[in-house]
Structure formats: structure tokens, C-alpha cells
């Protein structure tokens, strides 16, 4: 769909849609922290809150691309900080598997980023969201088969 818009309106700037799966305890709180600091960042990431990054089913990521996402961001607690002890390790393992899967489907690895944001790291949240938005903007809309 995005490609169509590009073709019809080549002048219109491509605004990527990015889904952000955030864990409740660290990264969602980190996003709130950025809010409390009132630091502006690109509006492209749409946050879906989960209790733990370990809940991120690879299906969610694949479905997100299918339903129009140009990128997916998975944000977890730092290692050792997971509220549920080891959910972030699971998320990391599954992310590695996802990258292989995406490669097979011809989706660039950069479209699925996993990072770690603590409850105090509002600045890091802003940085990750900004970088991700820039990356996807550079890559352009996802090519769906």
C-alpha cells in the first residue's frame, strides 16, 4: 500500500509505520520516562504493551508486517533486570530466530530490532525510536510478496 502511495505521490514523504512491543516493567516505563522529560521524538512507533518481552510471539511480528508495519521494535529489560527473571533472554533467542526467518522472506534484518531499555532510560528510548525511524525511512516501505 505504501508503495502505491509513493508511486502516486512521489513527492510525499514516506512515513514508516513501526510497531513497538514493549515490556511493562522496563521499556514501557522508559517510554513514560521520556514523556515525563517531555522529550519529543518521531511519532512513527506505535506501542503495544506486553507484560514481558518474553511474551513476544514471533507470530506477532510476522502479523505486524502483514498488517502494514514497515518495522518492528522489541524493547526489553537489560539482562539481569527482567521482572520475570529471564523473559528477556527468551526474547533475545526468539529475535535471533526471527531474523533468520525474515531473511528467508526477503525482509531486511534492520526491520526487526531488539533493544534493551530500562525504566530509567528515557533518553535511550528516544534514541532507539529515532534511529529505528531513520533506518526504516532509509529502507523505504516494506516489499510484500
Amino acid at each position: 500500500m505504501s508503495e502505491q502511495i509513493m508511486k502516486e505521490n512521489p513527492q510525499q514523504k514516506f512515513e514508516p509505520k513501526i510497531v513497538g512491543f514493549l515490556c511493562n516493567w522496563c521499556s514501557y516505563a522508559g517510554a513514560d520516562k521520556a514523556g515525563l522529560a517531555q522529550t519529543p521524538y518521531p511519532p512513527n512507533v506505535r506501542v503495544v504493551k506486553l507484560m514481558c518481552s518474553g511474551r513476544v510471539d514471533p507470530q506477532f511480528v510476522l502479523q505486524a508486517y502483514k498488517k502494514g508495519a514497515d518495522g518492528v521494535l522489541i524493547l526489553a529489560c537489560h539482562f539481569g533486570d527482567c521482572h520475570y527473571k529471564e523473559g528477556n533472554f527468551r526474547a533475545t533467542q526468539r529475535h535471533r530466530m526471527l531474523l533468520r526467518l525474515l531473511k528467508q522472506q526477503g525482509i531486511e534484518e534492520e526491520r526487526c530490532r531488539l533493544d534493551y531499555v530500562s525504566a530509567g532510560e528515557g533518553e535511550k528510548f528516544v534514541q532507539v525510536v529515532t534511529e529505528m525511524t531513520d533506518t526504516i525511512r532509509r529502507l523505504g516501505p516494506i516489499r510484500r510478496k
Partner: protein, 650 residues
């Protein structure tokens, strides 16, 4: 389905960036959204009343509240929704303040993003289901493992509230380590004297069942209802009948190295762990007793003035107890000094670890409190080596916190007992935290026979014997090689988890930290709770600490038990847990393997996984791991999350 959307403007915090009137136009098209209302401060008393009254009038099937972060006010709005007789899990919040209004530069973009989020929330909430908080009965009794300062304090506090306590102690004696120390830092008060009143109270407390020579062997169940198996070794003495007169000990013909004095002297096969040890009854070390070799020796029994106090046919018992909560207070141990071969521990007779030295100082110890070397002579010079294994990333990457203090105590006790003896402190760092501790440091440094030397690296310290003396070679912090005489060397090893911690952790399925200590729920906010519900931590089994901190943590653990599991109150079960769609479950047990809380069991007959909602914390890791799609999570179902994802992408 009728969805009501309530838009909080948060004064102008949200409405300044996101014009509610624009949103009103946008949300009209969203499936099932029946109405859109605004409020200035939804979290104020007026706002909450408005929400409650309006919900009662409108009677929507689902509610969307767009306001601040759900981390701040989800609970509040859930309560309002409940009061309006709508299930609180049929409400979804949208975080328009922290995650849109305050962070989006352009109002147009902010409005667009707000609409997108409301779309996602509406899609999600329409798939949300009512959930009920269930309640179960709890067993009010409490198991305390370990009868040192932390465990004793916890047991007394709980018993004081009228609750029954099962106090399990591995050794034959109560009191833990401090009853084995003659004097305690920082005030050089008598250790047994400090603890004896506490012990007397524990022994007289009817609500406390004391099980010495006992170990927890198996644990089943969960918070509120644990079934504990306790293995009790035979004492061969009936504590109820024994009068503690010691008549049995003299005639005993067998002696062994005394483990309670670190092998520095001998004890009889029948005897006390320590003179004055409580409960006041001896025990028989069966392996040392002649009866273990088939000899029908009855000398102790013959000497005993009380009939049937000595019980030769005592056997190991496995006792079962039901409790609602468990407090672990099993204490700690000292790092193995043989890991530093150059320090000659276990090889040179002049080298002692700090516990051995404590026993030399104790009136109940092998020398009756005299500081004498293994050669029977008082030392003319002593070296105390601090930080043996502590503050060392190759060994124990933490400060053990108590060693400097007891080293200063040693300094003072040596000064009293051997006024001429020279004391050299070889230290890496010196710590004196707290309001009382610095005074002891000042007294130690004020000892005219004491020298304090900062060494560079423990690896450069070498204990060498020259005839009947030993000397220590080391490099000072400036890198200069030096040698000092030391007739006696006292090593202050790192505080490490007690032997048996791993087995206990495995039986209880309690996580351990990277050092092997029982891991606290949170290092600062919740250090007296383990990561398993209903299991609490007290004393040095959670990390090195002094007696004051241990006893405080014992009280804290007791406080957790009394407030979280009060007698008569039922235990609420959080409804946001995983659940199994049994028809789809293939019985592969992957869910159980990834669960960090051991909350998933397996029904062998039906060959399906079973979630224990009491143990489940609702993280959803098992849900993502299930290869058959059989596992799902209440309030975070795959269907709900996908609907929200699709919603925010429209």
C-alpha cells in the same frame, strides 16, 4: 457491542497537543465506539465520580480511557469501572499523556497517533473478557529454616502474633554462628549473652516447634499451602527427659575431632555441641559411637540419672508439616582458604581462618579462651589478613562487609589477652560503615602494638615457615616487597553461601544469584522476599551482613508473612495468568521448561500441561513458546494483542 471512550484532558496537558474535538470526529468511524466524552481531570474525585455515574447511565459493554500512563492510574480507573458494576478487565487505557502529547512535536501528528491508539484499544477491548479474582484459604503456619539470629527473630515475631512456627535447625544447637563467638563487634559484648535471652524465649514459646538435627528434604505446593518433608537425624537423647547434667559424657570411651571447634580439639561421641548450647541436651555422634561398630556399649546410659533419656534405638525420622509460608535463614559459610596455596591454610600450623580464631578466643573453645598456637605457645606476633577472597573478581566480587569489623575486634581481644603481642593488619581496603563501627576502628588503630598495612594484591602474599615461626612476604600498595614475622596468621575469608544451599534451592525451586546466595525479589525494595511467592529470606543466606542486619531482615521477613498471609484472610489470585487450551495441548512440556516460576505442571493421565495460577506471574513466556498454540494468557491473549497491533496499524 457498545464501547464508551472517556478522554481526560489532564487540565491542558493532553488537550493542548491533542484537540479532543478532532478526536471526537475521528473515533466516530471506529467499530463499536458508541460515544466519546471528555473530562478535565478524570483522576480527581469529581472525575472519578463522573466516570462512575456516567458508566452507570450509559452501561457500555467496554470502556476505553484515554489519559496518562496506565502505570499511574489503571488501578484507579479499574476501581471506578468496578463500582459501576462493569468487570474491571473490560476497560483499556490509552497513554495519551506520557507517550503522545508530551513527546510529539506537531499537534497534527499527535492527533493522528492518538486516533491510531484509540483504534488499537477499541479493537483490543472488544476482545477482552471479564476476569474474576479468585481466593483460596491459606495455612497460617510458617516454616523457618535455620535457627541463627535471623531465623530466631523471625520465629519469635511470628509466634508473638499467635501463629505456629516450625523451626528447623541443621545442627544440634540453636543460635547460629554468634553463640560460638565470645564477643561481638562493634561493642565487644558477649555473643552467647546477647542471644541467650532470645533463645530462652524461643525454647519457652509454645507456638514454636523446634526440630534440631533436621533438614528440609522435600517441598510440594505453593504460597499459602506448602507440604514440607523434614528429615530429622536421630539425637539418641530424649530432649524432653534429659536434664542436661553431663553425667553421660565422662564415661564415654570414644573421642573424635570436635567439628564445633573446627577440629582444634576433641569431643566425646556423646556430648554437647558447645558448653551451654541450647537446647540443653547432648547428642550422640553415631559414627563415632562404639555401638556403630556393633559393640553393645552402654556406659553413657548407665551413667544417666534419668531413665530412658538415652535412647539407643532412635532412628532417622521423616516428618511432614503443612505451612503457608517459608522463611529461609540458613546463614552462610566462609570461603575455602585452601584456594590460596601461598597462604598455607591447612598446611602451616600457624595459619587459622577467622572462625577457628573465634573459637580460640571463646571460653567454650578448645583452649578455654586462651590465644595459644597449635604448639601450645602464645604467639608473640599475629598477622590478620583481610579480604581473603573478597573484593576480588577472580574469587568473590563483593565486599563481605563484616570482616574488617571482626578483625578490629580480634585486635582488641588480643590486646586484652596478650598485651605484648604485635598485631599486623594486612588489608586491601578498610570499611567502617554505620554509627557504631568507627569507634571500634579507632580503638584498633589506637592499639600501640598494632600496625596497619595496605597490600597491593592478595596473590603476592605468601606465608613461609622458618623453623617454628612463620613469616609473611607481601607487596605493599606501593609495590615494595616486605617481610614480617607472624607466629600466628589469621585469614578473614569471604562470606559465601552455606553448604547445602544449592540442594535447598533445588528442593524449593528458589533462584540463586550469581554468587549462590538466595536471590531477593529486589535488591533494595524487596530484599526479604525471594522470587518465589510465599518464600522469604532473612540473614546471610541472602547476602553477607552483620547480626543487626540479619535480625532486622528476620523481622522484615516475619512482617511480610504477617501482612501478606494474615490468618483468616484468603489469598487473592491474580487473574492475569497463563492458561491451557487442553484440546490443543500436545503434551510437549516446553511451557514448563521455560517457566521461570515452576508454575506449570503436567497432568500425566490426561497428558496436558496444567498452569498453577497461584505460582504464575503472568509474564507470558510460556505462551510465546508453545508450539501448538495451546497456551494463552488471560488479558494478554494472542487474539487481543493481534487485534491491538492491527488496530494501531490502520
Amino acid at each position: 457491542m457498545k464501547i464508551g471512550v472517556y478522554f481526560c484532558t489532564c487540565g491542558t496537558n493532553i488537550s493542548e497537543k491533542i484537540d479532543p474535538e478532532k478526536i471526537r470526529d475521528e473515533v466516530q468511524d471506529i467499530t463499536n465506539v458508541a460515544y466519546f466524552k471528555t473530562c478535565e481531570y478524570l483522576c480527581s474525585e469529581e472525575g472519578k465520580n463522573f466516570l462512575e455515574q456516567d458508566l452507570k447511565e450509559e452501561k457500555p459493554d467496554r470502556v476505553v480511557v484515554t489519559a496518562c500512563s496506565p502505570r499511574d492510574y489503571e488501578k484507579t480507573f479499574r476501581e471506578c469501572v468496578s463500582k459501576a458494576e462493569i468487570n474491571p478487565y473490560l476497560m483499556q487505557m490509552v497513554n495519551l499523556r506520557e507517550q503522545v502529547a508530551w513527546v510529539t512535536a506537531e499537534p497534527e501528528e499527535a492527533a493522528k497517533k492518538a486516533t491510531v491508539y484509540i483504534r488499537g484499544a477499541a479493537a483490543r477491548v472488544s476482545r477482552q473478557a471479564p476476569l474474576e479474582e479468585k481466593e483460596i484459604d491459606i495455612n497460617p503456619d510458617v516454616l523457618v529454616v535455620g535457627a541463627g539470629p535471623a531465623g530466631l527473630k523471625a520465629a519469635l515475631a511470628i509466634a508473638g502474633a499467635g501463629r505456629k512456627v516450625v523451626l528447623v535447625e541443621k545442627t544440634p544447637m540453636l543460635g547460629g554462628m554468634p553463640v560460638r563467638y565470645e564477643e561481638l563487634f562493634p561493642n565487644l559484648e558477649c555473643g552467647p549473652c546477647m542471644l541467650e535471652p532470645v533463645l530462652a524465649e524461643v525454647l519457652q514459646e509454645k507456638e514454636i516447634e523446634i526440630l534440631t538435627l533436621s533438614d528440609v528434604s522435600e517441598v510440594a505446593g505453593y504460597c499459602g499451602n506448602f507440604l514440607i518433608k523434614i528429615r530429622q537425624s536421630p539425637r539418641y537423647i530424649d530432649i524432653a527427659k534429659c536434664i542436661g547434667c553431663s553425667e553421660c559424657i565422662g564415661p564415654c570411651p570414644e573421642s573424635i575431632a570436635n567439628p564445633f571447634n573446627c577440629g582444634l580439639d576433641e569431643k566425646k561421641a556423646i556430648g554437647f555441641a558447645q558448653t551451654g548450647g541450647l537446647p540443653n541436651a547432648p547428642f550422640i555422634d553415631f559414627n563415632a559411637c562404639r555401638r556403630s561398630q556393633g559393640v553393645d556399649c552402654q556406659l553413657c546410659k548407665a551413667a544417666c540419672p534419668v531413665p530412658e533419656a538415652v535412647v539407643f534405638d532412635d532412628r532417622e525420622k521423616v516428618l511432614e508439616r503443612k505451612v503457608g509460608a517459608i522463611i529461609l535463614a540458613v546463614g552462610s559459610s566462609l570461603y575455602d582458604c585452601t584456594k590460596f596455596p601461598a597462604l598455607a591454610y591447612g598446611k602451616s600450623p600457624t595459619v587459622y581462618n577467622s572462625l577457628e580464631f573465634e573459637r580460640l578466643l571463646a571460653a567454650t573453645g578448645p583452649t578455654g579462651g586462651k590465644v595459644l598456637g597449635r604448639d601450645g605457645k602464645p604467639p608473640e606476633s599475629l598477622a590478620i589478613v583481610h579480604c581473603v577472597g573478597s573484593l576480588d573478581s577472580k574469587h568473590k566480587a563483593y565486599c563481605s562487609g563484616v570482616c574488617c569489623q571482626y578483625a578490629f575486634k580480634f585486635n582488641q581481644l588480643v590486646k586484652h589477652k596478650l598485651p605484648e603481642a604485635k598485631v599486623t593488619h594486612l588489608h586491601k581496603e578498610l570499611v567502617t560503615p554505620g554509627k557504631e563501627e568507627f569507634a571500634l576502628f579507632e580503638r584498633a588503630t589506637g592499639n600501640p602494638n598494632a600496625t596497619f598495612i595496605r597490600y597491593g594484591d592478595l596473590a603476592d602474599i605468601e606465608v613461609a615457615e622458618t623453623g617454628d615461626r612463620s613469616e609473611i612476604r607481601y607487596q605493599d600498595a606501593g609495590g615494595n616487597s616486605r617481610t614480617i614475622d607472624a607466629d600466628m596468621v589469621v585469614l578473614c575469608p569471604a562470606v559465601v553461601p552455606a553448604g547445602g544451599s544449592n540442594a535447598l534451592a533445588a528442593a524449593l525451586e528458589v533462584p540463586q544469584d550469581r554468587f549462590g546466595f538466595f536471590e531477593e525479589l529486589h535488591g533494595r525494595a524487596d530484599a526479604a522476599q525471594s522470587k518465589i511467592k510465599g518464600i522469604y529470606l532473612a540473614g546471610t543466606c541472602q547476602g553477607p551482613k552483620d547480626i543487626q542486619a540479619s535480625m532486622n531482615q528476620g523481622m522484615a521477613a516475619a512482617g511480610h508473612v504477617l501482612s501478606q498471609l494474615p490468618e483468616g484472610r484468603k489469598l487473592k489470585i491474580e487473574p492475569v495468568t497463563a492458561f491451557v487450551n487442553e484440546e490443543a495441548c500436545s503434551g510437549c512440556k516446553v511451557c514448563g521448561a521455560v517457566c521461570p516460576y515452576k508454575a506449570i505442571g503436567f497432568d500425566v493421565e490426561r497428558e496436558v500441561s496444567v498452569v498453577n495460577p497461584l505460582l504464575c506471574h503472568g509474564c507470558g513466556t510460556c505462551v510465546a513458546a508453545c508450539p501448538s498454540g495451546a497456551m494463552d494468557g488471560y488479558h494478554f491473549t494472542g487474539d487481543q494483542i493481534l487485534a491491538e497491533t492491527e488496530g494501531v496499524l490502520q
